[in-house]
Amino acid sequence: MTDTAFDTPAIDRSAMKVSDEVAIDIVNMNKWFGTFHVLRDINLTVNRGERIVIAGPSGSGKSTLIRCINRLEEHQTGKIVVDGTELTSDLKNIDKIRSEVGMCFQHFNLFPHLTILENCTLAPIWVRKVPKKEAEETAMHFLEKVKIPEQASKYPGQLSGGQQQRVAIARSLCMKPRIMLFDEPTSALDPEMIKEVLDTMIELAQEGMTMICVTHEMGFARQVANRVIFMDQGQIVEQNEPEEFFNNPRSERTKLFLSQILGH
């Protein structure tokens, strides 16, 4: 790649509102794993209410990028500001940001020794110091929202993959996050379960949640994203609004990638 500059349109084309308030600001951020330069000079600004989809080949650093946003990975140079708080090694800042940024993982990472309800109330009770009763009410509210209130007293091991992922989303929502990160939330699921999870995410997007989502679900990207970011070799190679991105990809790498995942 020689050209690194892209025009960022970010036009609000749907009914979902995007404000000018900045939610996440990443400036000249670099990260290495040992000597391996995994993220190279990342610049990304996400406004409140924006829905961003990140795509790219395996190993391109998508997961690492969004994990840097809530400090599951530590960046070495550059700056990441989330909700006005800069990520430094200060533990207080990190815990504050983590409690405001929800994250859903490919393998759900539910706590198998706790019931669904306990999974959802744990963090509100211990981090937000919400009274147990209130935390349980909130949890039931969000479990209803993801349409599995009847599973509240079961254990994660007794649920299907799609149900588990919806619990994971509900668990994050119970912390009342202002930003949600999704790392391939549907790629460990059977096809018939993907839709139920995507529906939940679409609903979330319609309520104006700021979302960054690593996914290969291009239908989802077309429908809800207002920007698609294509990454390769640790760099942001192209970003555009979905229609443009899919119909007129500019870089060769993007074209190749799209032909591979849409081709069959």
């Binding site: 993982f105 744990l122 981090v127 007794q158």
Partner: protein, 434 residues
């Protein structure tokens, strides 16, 4: 089905089948015996041979065990009663059972260890059987170690009170220090503060306190302790303390702080590299050389510390195994919700790691409990040491089996209960397939 299929492809059942009883040959005693004992000629032969062997063993053992020697007061008397027949001499158990249980503890004070044991069971209730016992007892469980020690040793009440305050001091320092430094270092500071309290302030203040406000029980010397009371005292202490210490060591070993990490690794590897007997010898002799002259550092306390450290090192490795078995996603799940290190450990990591490690933990417990018999090497009277002492009495000179069977049976009851409990716990903590 294949028939139906051959005739017509479409098939609809018009009557539903009622549930029927299974054939009598596959259920009940007959079914069980058929399935498990007599399935095939080879198994039948094995069953008959094994049954014959068991009968032969019983024929040898039962007459020996059932022997009317309960009231004999010496081995010679046993021989007279048996009049040439083979038989056990149970008189020794009858006459000396209290010694085997309590050692040389003053008879009129037996109620104290018994009460201590009863209170121990009450204190363990909410921990071992959380489903059945109210957690309201937990504060009692927390102060039990001090009550129990006071009941056993007696003396002024200020010793347990001051010892307990050491923990309060440590906790206070930890909470305070955590505001300024990372948890690992704050914990070190807390340990240091508690040690200063116990080793410097406490010996200094105790005599005066005891004189000013003299409340206490009659003191019992450590060398009067013996028998199962000694084994249980040492064993239970080592078991109770080795688990938390082991957890901290295991966490320390995985710590990002090099100092904490290398301290823990060094400790674990050193203790595991040395036989327990060596540590016990250090406790009984060498430690005196290092301690300032005139300090009266109780021998049982020294042994308990050594056995606890020994058990902790093993415990740490068992728990580290459990920690390593947890997927990284559990840590990330906890982190991403904003839980801090200790919250994540307490609420997410440890409950799962400990659950995985239950069989290893209980094995370590059982091992430690049985290892308490090693203290007879440094001339303390554990049950085995007492057996030797009893044999030294001319009335019982030459008696072996009866004592060992009794001691073995009591140990078996304890160890087998622990083993059954661990199985109960594993079943209870089963939360669906993963």
């Amino acid at each position: 089905m294949s028939n139906t299929h051959a005739d017509t492809v479409s098939y609809v059942r018009d009557t539903m089948l009622m549930q029927q009883d299974p054939p009598s040959t596959s259920v009940g005693v007959v079914g069980w015996a058929r399935g498990n004992l007599f399935s095939g000629w080879f198994n039948t032969i094995l069953t008959i041979l094994s049954a014959a062997f068991v009968l032969w063993l019983l024929a040898g053992i039962v007459p020996w065990v059932v022997s009317p020697t309960w009231n004999a007061s010496s081995l010679t008397e046993c021989r007279e009663i048996l009049a040439g027949h083979e038989g056990a001499c149970w008189g020794v158990i009858h006459e000396r059972w209290n010694q085997l249980l309590f050692g040389f503890y003053p008879q009129e004070l037996y109620w104290r260890p018994v009460l201590a044991l009863v209170l121990l069971l009450i204190a363990l209730g909410p921990i071992l059987f959380a489903d059945f016992v109210s957690p309201k007892i937990l504060p009692f469980s927390a102060v039990y170690p001090f009550i129990g020690a006071w009941l056993l040793w007696g003396g002024t009440i200020w010793t347990p009170v001051m010892a307990a305050l050491g923990f309060v001091v440590g906790y206070g320092v930890f909470v305070l220090a955590q505001r300024f430094i990372v948890p690992g270092l704050a914990f070190l500071a807390a340990v240091l503060a508690a040690l200063v309290w116990w080793l410097v302030i406490m010996p200094f203040a105790l005599p005066d306190l005891a004189r000013l406000i003299p409340i206490g029980l009659e003191a019992v010397q450590s060398r009067q302790f013996g028998g199962f009371m000694l084994s249980i005292t040492i064993g239970v202490t080592a078991i109770l303390f080795s688990l938390p210490i082991g957890i901290l060591l295991a966490l320390g070993r995985r710590s990002d702080l090099p100092l904490v990490k290398w301290l823990c690794v060094g400790f674990i590897e050193f203790i595991r590299g040395v036989p327990l007997i060596t540590l016990l010898f250090v406790a009984s002799t060498l430690l005196n050389i290092f301690l300032p002259p005139g300090t009266n550092f109780d021998i049982i306390l020294r042994v308990m510390i050594m056995v606890t450290l020994f058990a902790s090192a093993y415990m740490a490795e068992v728990i580290r195994g459990g920690l390593a078995a947890l997927p990284k996603g559990q840590y990330e799940g906890a982190d991403s919700l904003g839980l801090d290190y200790w919250q994540a450990q307490r609420l997410i990591i440890m409950p799962q790691a400990l659950k995985i490690s239950i069989p290893g933990i209980v094995s370590t417990f059982i091992g430690v409990f049985k290892d308490t018999t090693l203290v007879s090497i440094i001339s303390m009277f554990d049950p085995l040491g007492l057996a030797n002492a009893i044999r030294a009495d001319s009335a019982w000179n030459g008696i072996y089996w009866e004592l060992f069977i009794f001691i073995g049976a009591v140990f078996f009851i304890f160890c087998f209960s622990m083993s059954r409990y661990s199985m109960y716990l594993e079943r209870k903590l089963q939360t669906g397939h993963r």
